[in-house]
Each structure stands twice: as C-alpha cells, then as structure tokens.
Amino acid sequence: MAASSLEVEGLEVVTRAGVPILDDLSFRVAEGQALGIVGESGSGKSVALRATMGLPPAGTSVRAGTVMVGDRRVPAGSVTPAGVAMVFQDSFTSLDPTMRLGSYLAETVARHRGATIAAARSRARELLRDVGMTEPELRMRAFPHQLSGGLRQRAAIALALATDPRYLLCDEPTTALDVTLQARILALLKARQGAAGLGLVFVSHDIAVVSQIADVVAVMYAGRIVEIGPTATVIGSPRHPYAQALVAALPDLDRPGTRFLSIAGTPPDPSEFTAGCRFQARCGHPGTGCDQPLAGLDGRDHRHRSDCLHEDTHPAGRAS
C-alpha cells in the first residue's frame, strides 16, 4: 500500500555569505499522514518548509537537495512544486492587503483549475465554508485588514487549499492565535487531513500543539533532526537529551505547583555550527566524543531514533 508521499532529500540552505543553515536535511510525509516538526525558534524548521516551497527567506538560497512529490522529482529551490501548498504564521502580513479575499481565491482557483470566473468564485465560496467561515458572501468582499485574527488565518488556509494541494506545509499557523481559536484551526486541519487524504507537515515551537495533530514527530535542533519517531513514543519516552528537556518543560497538570523546567543557554548561531553534536553546550550530560561528526537523522525513516551517542546511558524520559 505504498501511498504516494512528499519526500525532501539532502536539503541544503546557505546564507549569502555561504554559511549553511540547513545541511543535508531530509524528511518524508505520506498522503493522509501528519508529520510534526518541533524545535526552538532559530532551529531552521520554518526555513526547511520555505526551502521545500522553493521560497527560502531573503538573504538565503537553496544550494542542494531534491523534492519528490509522489513520483515526480523536482530540484529543491524550484518555486512551488505542484501539489504542495503552504500556510504562514502571521496571516495579517501574509495576505496581500490590496486584494479582496474573494477575488484572490477566485484568481488562484482559476489559475490552478483553468475554471471560468463564475466557477472559480463559487469554488471560492465553497472554500470559505470549508474553513468554517460564516456568511461567506460577506467575507468574499472583505480586505485582510477588515478580518479578525482567526478569520484571517482561516482565509490563509482557504487560499492554500485553493491550489488543490496533496500536501500542506503549515509554518506555525496557530501561534498568533489564542488557545480556543488554536484548537478550532487544528481541528479544521485534522479534518482536511482525514477527509481529503491531505499530507500535513506541521511546524511549531510548541510540542503540546504538535502532539495534538502529528502522527510522527521530528525534533529539530540547530538545523538537524536530532530525534524522530511516532508521536506517542517520542513524547512518552524521549531519548535525545534535547527532546527530553523539551518534554520535561511541559507543565504537568497532574502535579500542580511544580516549577517549570527550562533549558539554559540559547541555540547556536548558524555560523557556529560544528560537525559534532550541536547541543553539547546545553546538554545536561555531556559524554566523551560528542564532537565526533554526526550526520543528523534522515527524516524519511519514521522509526523512533535519536542522534545522540550516549542515549542509552540517560535516564528514560518521564513516564507518559
């Protein structure tokens, strides 16, 4: 049952000065599956998504890597591989302020389906209903700055869906929203994933949010995947010290009053990336040989693995 999948292999992104942000990053998500990528800001997780879309952030460029959508191979860095769409974090700045929502959606639908304007506009109304907007007719004529935060985020999702994607890359879509809206957006994405067999890649710094939606979770640190595996096992028994720290940082509702744990220090700047383990400086139990070159995990294999030489000597993660 080899369902077709989105595979990114050997992705390399460098700054204008040649400093690598991502070197040899690979990951895979199958249709109907949800891959979560979690990590602190600056870990390169959103750069990975944007590079996959061929739209690396300003001042950076994709130097190597390929993107496989189903059976079609596209060199990384080529813009907007077919079948892949993206939803961005701040819906306010990511929607063109001069365009009415309806015409923006209709134009995108017309471009992808070659539909007539009338058909495109009805599809647009349908999309607005799909993302749970009330009075779609009113919303069609609205400009982004006339919508509330939640509505704007739904509009962004509708726009992504307008290209009839098979894979949806979500770059922290709920971070700018309050918790109740967050839950509704996650439910909406979950529904789309199930109903339309959409492949989801969900990036966030919040492990709790990722765990609600992702089947498989990859933990990224300093441009590399340091742990990957089915969500339950990774959160239940994290093996890499960084993953353990992330999970430990979650407030435990069972034991109120416990102090929050936080990880000392800050992630290294890309210019300070080393070949060896990049978590050394902040790792609670540095073993010997941590600066031996590490390759980072290949995200295409979803089995539970960790990229740490001394994982067996660490106490198991907190019992889930």
Partner: protein
C-alpha cells in the same frame, strides 16, 4: 472605480474653493507686505507724483487691501480675472495663450520622468546588488545635481544645433512642429525629476518584494507579469503616486527654467515677469491657476492611492 474613490473625489472637490480662497488671502497679504509700488512700476521714473497718483487711482490701488480683495473676489465670481496693469491685456487671454505650453511641458515631462524612472526603479529594487544597480545609483545622484539649465543647453546644442535633428528652442508652428519643439524640454524635465521618482519607487518596491504577502502569492503560483502587476506594483505604487502628484503640481511653475532655456512661452515665465513688475492682477490670476492645478493633481494622486490601497480609505 469603487464607490469610495468617487466619494473621496466629491468630498475633496468641495474643498477646492476654501483652499483657493485661503491662497488668495495669502497672496493679497503678501502683496501688501511687499516693497515696490505697482503704480510707479507702470508710470516709470520720470512721472511726477501727481501722475503716479493718477495711475494709482486708475488701478484702484489707492483703496484699502480689504476693499480691493472684495472687489477682486466679486469680479472673480463673474469669471473676470481683470487685466494686466502693464498691457491691459485680459489675464484670461494671457493665461490662455500660455497654458498650453505649460501643460505640454508638464505632461511630457512627467511621462519622460516615469519612462526614465520606471526601469531604473526595477533594477534598483529587483537587482539591488548587481553592477547595473550600482551604476544606476551613481547616474541618479549625478542627474539630480546637474543644473537643469545645463542639461537643457547640452541637449539643445548637441541634438538641436550640431545634429540639427530638433529645433534648438522656440515653438515651431503646427502639431508636428509643436511635438518636435517639446521633445528636448520634456526630456530635460524628465532627467531632473526621474531620480526622485526612481528612488521612491525603488524603496517601496524593495519593501514589497521582501514582504510576506509576496511570498504567499508566489506560493500559490502567482508569477511573472501577473505577480508583478497584481501584487508588486499595486503595493509599491502609493508613495510614488503621491510623489508624482506633488511633482505635477510643482511643475506648473517649475517648468520656468526649461521655458526659459528653450524660449517657450509658459505660465512660469509670465509669473516672474509680472511679479517683478508688481503686475498684481496677473500674479493673482496665475496663482489661482497654479493653486487649482496643484489641488487637482494632489487630489488625483490621493484618489489613485485610495484605489490602489484600500487601507488608506477611511470614512
């Protein structure tokens, strides 16, 4: 144009009268403050005081400023701008004979300016680190500092005299003659205005290109000229359109240097001659024309901006 554009146009047109009224009050105040006696300017050095007084009475200059203002506005309401103190030629006729030259220079100048600024802005915004951008930056900052009389003169000498392709100055009769006569002056205006336009457009274009919504637009497949027209241009234009509106208004008088360098009879040169000789009816008439032009050009720019960018539309 959406409803709000028309509403803005309507509301703003109502404000034309008070602004022109305010401008007229300021001009009359300035005329009262300014040294130099219009009657003596007409009568000349040899006239006796009695004769000067006679001229003063004849021109109605012996009345108080307020009465003169009132009678001027009264006649203005009837569309009468009065006559030149110097030549008794009706001001409307003077303006009529010269407004064509000024408008031709203005519109031609703006077109030249946009044609020069457009490509330059594109290179500066889309290829900021290329050698071409570097060269254009330098050319722009040189062009801005070249005195426009020098640019005009060089064009007239090289293209006009040496190559003999175009008239060196003056206005040749006939439509073809007019076009040939306006080519070099409009290019001169274009060269002196385009640097401002290019830099303003480049700045806002650069900002738009780096914006999130352009990334989104490209992520949903917008590309090529559609991306440029629908997303880049529409967001980048507002500040440049505002500047264009300002420049258009400023050019009503601003073409005086080119009018003079190419001996073209525009409104600017007439304003200077009239002001120098304290020929106030002509000064007042021209000020109203310039004021009206400035208001209209700025208004058109604001309406264009409100059409381009919905965020600027308010109640």
């Amino acid at each position: 144009m959406e409803g709000s554009g028309w509403r803005l146009l309507g509301r703003r047109l109502l404000q034309v009268l008070p602004v022109l009224g305010l401008l007229l009050v300021v001009v009359f105040a300035l005329q009262a403050l300014i040294p130099g006696d219009p009657a003596r300017a007409i009568a000349g050095p040899r006239a006796t005081e009695a004769q000067v007084a006679h001229v003063r009475a004849d021109l109605g200059l012996d009345e108080t400023v307020t009465t003169r203002f009132a009678s001027y506005v009264g006649r203005l309401a009837g569309g009468d701008l009065g006559e030149s103190n110097r030549s008794d030629v009706p001001v409307t006729q003077i303006i009529g004979q010269r407004v064509g030259v000024t408008l031709s220079l203005l519109l031609g100048g703006l077109v030249a300016s946009v044609l020069l600024a457009g490509p330059a802005a594109l290179v500066l915004a889309l290829r900021p680190r290329s050698r071409a951008a570097w060269v254009i930056e330098r050319v722009l900052s040189v062009a801005i500092n070249l005195p426009s009389f020098w640019v005009g003169l060089m064009l007239a000498t090289v293209v006009g005299l040496r190559a003999g392709l175009l008239p060196v100055g003056g206005l040749e009769p006939g439509l073809g003659g007019h076009l040939r006569s306006y080519l070099l002056p409009c290019l001169t205006i274009g060269i002196s205005l385009s640097p401002f336009l290019a830099r303003s457009a480049a700045t806002s274009l650069r900002e738009v290109v780096a914006s999130d919504y352009v990334v989104t637009a490209r992520s949903v497949g917008a590309s090529g000229t559609f991306l440029f027209r629908r997303h880049l241009l529409r967001n980048a234009l507002p500040p440049t359109v505002t500047l264009l509106g300002f420049q258009a208004g400023a050019l009503l008088f601003g073409t005086v240097i080119v009018e003079q360098t190419f001996a073209l009879p525009g409104l600017g040169a007439e304003m200077i001659t009239a002001a120098a000789q304290r020929d106030f009816p002509v000064v007042q008439g021209l000020t109203l024309v310039f004021g009206l032009g400035i208001i209209v050009f700025n208004l058109l720019a604001d309406v264009a901006v409100s059409v381009l960018d919905p965020r600027t539309r308010t109640a």
